[in-house]
Symmetry: C2
Subunit: 202 residues, 2 copies
């Protein structure tokens, strides 16, 4: 993952472009994002951006992929003593932080809403989802193998957690409220408790 | 609810305008919706639409309210023998039908994504959500009172169900898949089982 990207930019250039995209997205929102605004955020010549990306769409697909890679790198699950810890850590990493501005959450949802109309976005978002789902599935499989969790279906458990996470994210943005956040955390906690061996009656 | 609307249109005119809006939204999507396209769907003179609504935004806020009223009218909960039946019926009514085109779901989510930028949309969507949440809360309260459900917090239970429903809806649209639908139904069923008296161990 540290090698050159398919667009041919070296890692540090790629990272600079991705950071500029993130700032421009948070500042202007998806609808008002332009290549010019990303260029303005980038402390490099404007031609650099156009050299690497033919279109805003191509850049944003790359941004979705970058965001996924960055997230996956942050989660190195080997460090954890129990599947339950790995699960809590992963859920926390995906939970919207109520102290942060929700500009980034709004932007990600807006890109999600392009999926029905935009094949490249939909494919990348499906890929992002598949990797997240695979991550949760492996944690559930590991927990079952270690005897921590009941013999549930790990893939369905992963989908259940992702439904809760996406539900919380969507409701927080649309309703402008922290309540989904609190209730969602409890719901995920209760779900984990319910499948934890010896915890059935809690 | 059968009296004149705040915009002054008689019920049958209001209904005709709302139906035309629904068709235009499903056909062209939120981004390409115009007053002209709604007028074209309406089997009345074009001036009628402009007489009742100054802007597309005003019309769409009215549409969100109409959709909520229509849904609330369909659910007359007095008919049910048990809170569990009322709950299943309400969940079913809100679940996206996998046999239907998801154009309408996409459109509703797109309007939801306007909420961070548009006060009138956000207020109407908060109102829609408050009424749905109130509906679920009353069902949970009723079930607790009848001794069907454990003494859970009815409002938090309502929020939990709405998080699952919104998570399913969002994931189905973004990923273009029926899987969230299936897993989400099971998740809601398991949640209801877990709070049903005498069903704790299922």
């Amino acid at each position: 993952m540290e090698t050159q990207r398919s667009n041919g930019s070296p890692p540090e250039t790629h990272e600079a472009i991705m950071d500029a995209t993130c700032r421009a997205l948070c500042e202007y929102g998806y609808a008002n994002l332009t290549m010019q605004r990303i260029s303005d955020e980038l402390d490099k010549s404007k031609s650099l951006l156009h050299y690497h990306y033919d279109s805003k769409e191509e850049l944003l697909v790359s941004f979705l992929e970058y965001h996924l890679d960055e997230f996956a790198t942050r989660l190195s699950l080997d460090e954890y003593d129990s599947a339950a810890d790995a699960l809590s850590f992963t859920v926390d990493a995906l939970f919207p932080d109520p102290d942060d501005s929700n500009d980034f959450e709004v932007t990600m949802l807006e890109m999600g809403m392009q999926a029905p109309y935009n094949d490249a976005f939909r494919e990348q978002l499906q890929e992002n989802n598949a990797r997240l789902k695979d991550l949760f599935t492996r944690i559930f499989e590991d927990g079952i193998e270690r005897g921590e969790f009941e013999a549930i279906d790990p893939e369905r458990a992963a989908e259940h957690v992702l439904i809760l996470l996406d539900g919380v994210r969507g409701r927080s943005v649309v309703l402008g409220s922290d309540e989904p956040n609190e209730v969602g955390r409890d719901a995920i906690r209760e779900f984990i408790q319910a499948i934890t061996v010896g915890d059935e009656d809690q």
